[in-house]
């Protein structure tokens, strides 16, 4: 099948996963009751729709950011969390919950986004002119710092309930988000995605190394800005609405590369679609698991993702030997 055919198929699967996410759950809601004026209609509008839209956007953002980070660092083990933006946004969210700002409209989102924005600025200063290595080290420093501060805030939580609320939020989930929250995050994600999609040609040129790319007229300094801003806005906004959902950004580009080949520009859009499909499907399946509570999406992703990634690594090693 050619590339266009493959992409059309992914697009179809994305639509299917989105529809599944709208319908699946402890209560199945079929399309004929989507506009109904009863409990089903209410569940659809207030719970399912925001959740499905969020799953679609977050999955796409994480898949795309992962593909861009791996292309930029020319390292298949990179993912969006490398930059430390996720950890910083999570720290902002935790502070908001600690101070009770999450009870205000947009309070949590604003805090997380501000913290993410601050980390973006810091990262640009730290890694200035340092190339990918400065970039990774800067991101690691930010990640570690934000993680430590987050642990500190949890440790000084006034009571176990507050600590519990913080930890629960950190685990990452798409549940109980209001359409308004989703709506606030969308413009940030859209801007980030647009920036990231524009990096394809520069990432391709980096296949030849930094000097090769520069000699082709690629401005690596500008590319670094675009990536920091793009990943920062898109991933920062995702974490701000849904906590940290890991592994999507790491795994999806690998799956897509197995189908589309390794050219960085060719896997950007497919990785976004793949991320959306994976996230929506996983979230729908989690809702179908019988039992009282629900496994958090962030946990499920990690539990499913880790063995899968191990398998990938083993296969790579076999290929290299």
């Amino acid at each position: 099948m050619n590339v266009r055919g493959l992409t059309s198929l992914l697009l179809l699967l994305t639509v299917a996963a989105f529809l599944l996410s709208l319908m699946a759950g402890k209560v199945w809601i079929w399309p004929n009751s989507w506009a109904a004026d009863n409990a089903d209609g209410w569940i659809f509008l207030e719970l399912r729709l925001p959740r499905a839209v969020l799953g679609l956007c977050i999955g796409a953002v994480l898949g795309l950011s992962g593909a861009v980070m791996q292309g930029y660092l020319r390292n298949p083990l990179a993912d969006p969390t490398v930059l430390g933006v996720s950890a910083s946004a999570a720290f902002g969210g935790v502070v908001a919950i600690y101070l009770g700002l999450n009870l205000l409209p947009f309070g949590l989102f604003a805090c997380a986004m501000l913290s993410a924005g601050f980390s973006i600025l810091l990262l640009l200063v730290i890694s200035r002119g340092g190339g990918p290595v400065g970039f990774i080290l800067g991101g690691m420093v930010l990640s570690t710092l934000a993680g430590a501060l987050t642990a500190f805030v949890i440790s000084i939580a006034p009571n176990p309930f507050a600590a519990n609320e913080i930890i629960n939020w950190l685990m990452g989930a798409l549940t109980d988000r209001l359409m308004a929250d989703v709506g606030t995050a969308l413009p940030f994600m859209a801007l980030g995605v647009a920036l990231l999609l524009s990096t394809g040609r520069a990432l391709d040129a980096l296949t030849l190394g930094e000097n090769g790319a520069k000699s082709l007229g690629i401005n690596l300094f500008r590319l670094q800005w675009i990536i920091v801003l793009g990943v920062g806005l898109a991933v920062g906004a995702s974490v701000a609405v849904s906590g940290v959902v890991g592994f999507v950004g790491l795994i999806v580009p690998h799956l897509i590369r197995a189908i589309y080949g390794e050219q960085p520009s060719q896997i950007l859009l497919p990785s976004a679609l793949g991320g959306a499909i994976l996230t929506l499907t996983a979230d729908s399946l989690l809702r179908l698991v019988p039992g009282p509570g629900e496994v958090r999406l962030g946990i499920a992703m990690a539990v499913l993702g880790a063995p899968f990634f191990l398998l990938l690594l083993l296969r790579y090693r076999k290929g290299a030997a």
Partner: protein, 258 residues
């Protein structure tokens, strides 16, 4: 049509890498930059390619300062074959060659011009046979030709090659040198950093001999490759001689006794 450097200097921090280099590179000639490790050869090439900004003097292309040219305009004129033959993803050879068209591309996809240049570059380097094979699966000799095809695909007037023969067997080294030679005959300017003095003697039209960041000698093979120069710069006892067919060859006898 010339590339020129005037009073060029470059430092990494306190360390002076290049100092007061004056040289002119001409189209239709193969200029070889020689010098021992650390003499500043690659730095000079990087200044010519616009990758490094000299901190003294200028590097210019037909009177235009290279560091002030728009990167894309510069990339269309000056192609660089970087050191180390880096290829980071297992993309097909043809996709790698197509990267050479990036300075010419506007919008998405490839134009007829792009496709023509790509296939011309691949046929000139005899790489069509493995157009669809991933570059990571090619032999060193094949990959070197694909990487050169990538530079040719951009149709630059100038080709700068940084140690293009490194890690190649003699047959493959001659393949690359002959390909560069053919570009020179087609009127392009080629500047190559080489380590192998014997090849420099055989293939160069013009030589630059660098020593500790300064231009120690420049000119024709006979003027630059003299026993005195080689003893001073490389510490070797060597001289040129004419073989039975009348071709100039280099004979290295050993280290200079001190």
């Amino acid at each position: 049509m010339t590339l020129t450097v005037r009073n060029l200097g470059f430092s990494y921090g306190q360390r002076r890498i290049l100092d007061a280099i004056d040289a002119t590179f001409e189209a239709g000639k193969l200029t070889v930059i020689l010098g021992p490790n650390g003499a500043g050869k690659s730095t000079l090439l990087a200044c010519l390619a616009g990758l490094l900004k000299p901190d003294a003097g200028t590097a210019s292309l037909h009177d235009a300062d290279i560091t002030r040219m728009a990167p894309t305009a510069r990339a269309r004129q000056i192609g660089l074959l970087p050191q180390g033959a880096e290829t980071h993803w297992a993309i097909p050879s043809m996709a790698l060659v197509a990267l050479g068209r990036i300075p010419h591309m506007r919008g998405a996809g490839t134009s007829t011009d792009d496709r023509r240049a790509i296939s011309a570059a691949m046929s000139a380097t005899a790489t069509e046979g493995f157009a669809y094979r991933p570059v990571t699966q090619l032999s060193g000799g094949e990959r070197a030709r694909v990487l050169l095809a990538r530079v040719l695909a951009g149709e630059p007037s100038w080709i700068l090659a940084d140690e293009p023969l490194a890690n190649l067997d003699p047959g493959f080294q001659l393949d690359i040198l002959n390909l560069l030679r053919r570009q020179v005959e087609a009127g392009k300017g080629v500047v190559a950093v080489l380590h192998d003095l014997a090849y420099a003697v055989r293939f160069a039209d013009h030589l630059l001999l660098l020593h500790e960041g300064r231009l120690f000698a420049q000119g024709s093979v006979e003027n630059v490759i003299t026993p005195a120069n080689l003893a001073h710069v490389y510490g070797i006892d060597a001289n040129l001689f004419k073989d039975e067919e009348g071709a100039v060859q280099l004979c290295i006898k050993g280290k200079v006794r001190s």
